[in-house]
């Protein structure tokens, strides 16, 4: 029933659909209301980043069955320009697009596990995980 899903991120409407899908699964696996809100907010930021900074991408969504508790893992990937300096990109307030520069740094704080893989010309992959408590 809850097998892995893949969703495209090609339009503003897709970002909305990703938020709704993540919200549904987060509720289903029993995340608290605050944790649901956190993971949906992180998903919204990362989906928008793929759209705005890379011209689009996709998200792979997976429910994890941990030994003691379930979790939700989201893998956002794109074939955009990539990020030259990861540390800089993760600095609060740093943006190349006139944004607030909160998306990456903020998302990292909102989830339990955060992994960013990116290099110039090789696209970007951001993996986030939130565990039920």
């Amino acid at each position: 029933m809850n097998g892995p899903t893949e969703m495209p991120i090609a339009t503003n409407g897709d970002v909305v659909l990703v938020r709704q899908k993540v919200r549904g699964l987060a509720a289903e696996i029993g995340l608290s209301l605050v944790d649901q809100t956190k993971i949906v907010t992180a998903a919204s930021e990362l989906a928008r980043n793929a759209l705005v900074h890379a011209g689009g991408g996709r998200v792979h969504i997976e429910v994890l069955h941990g030994a003691r508790r379930p979790g939700l893992r989201l893998v956002f990937s794109d074939e955009g320009p990539g990020i030259p300096d990861l540390e800089q990109a993760l600095t609060e307030g740093w943006s190349t697009g006139g944004g607030l520069g909160l998306g990456l740094s903020g998302s990292r704080r909102l989830v339990d596990e955060f992994d960013l893989v990116s290099a110039p010309g090789e696209g970007t992959r951001v993996t986030v995980t939130k565990w039920a408590r």
Partner: protein
């Protein structure tokens, strides 16, 4: 694209966001609201986010922009109905919404704008 209705109650404009807005619709709302403030001469704006499940950096920026923009147009904005989970998430995300006036609910929002009501010339 979705168009959010803007209601007028005396000198106050009321916007109640009831659906999950995509970014284009968020920008459209910002522009519609600026136009309406000017055309109606409203002195106050209430943005009701009771039904809004998440506020990310984009919506957060919209709220700050509307607050700043209406101030320049001689009106005051109050954001009402923020859910506790949204407030917690916003702070962790790093958005403080500085400069955005808030009230717990619509009633308190209207009360907060009492001083501007009925003063429009």
């Amino acid at each position: 694209m979705e168009r959010v209705p803007i209601l007028k109650l005396g000198d106050i404009l009321i916007v109640s966001i009831q659906i999950d807005l995509d970014d284009q619709s968020v920008l459209a709302l910002q522009e519609d609201l600026a136009d309406r403030v000017v055309s109606s001469g409203a002195r106050g704006v209430i943005i009701d986010i009771t039904a809004v499940e998440i506020v990310d950096s984009f919506i957060g920026r919209m709220l700050s922009t509307i607050a700043a923009m209406t101030r320049m147009l001689d009106a005051e904005t109050v954001v009402v109905g923020m859910r506790p989970a949204v407030a917690i998430t916003l702070v962790e995300l790093g958005l403080s919404l500085g400069g955005v006036r808030t009230a717990l609910n619509l009633e308190k929002g209207v009360a907060a704008l009492e001083h501007v009501r009925g003063t429009a010339g």
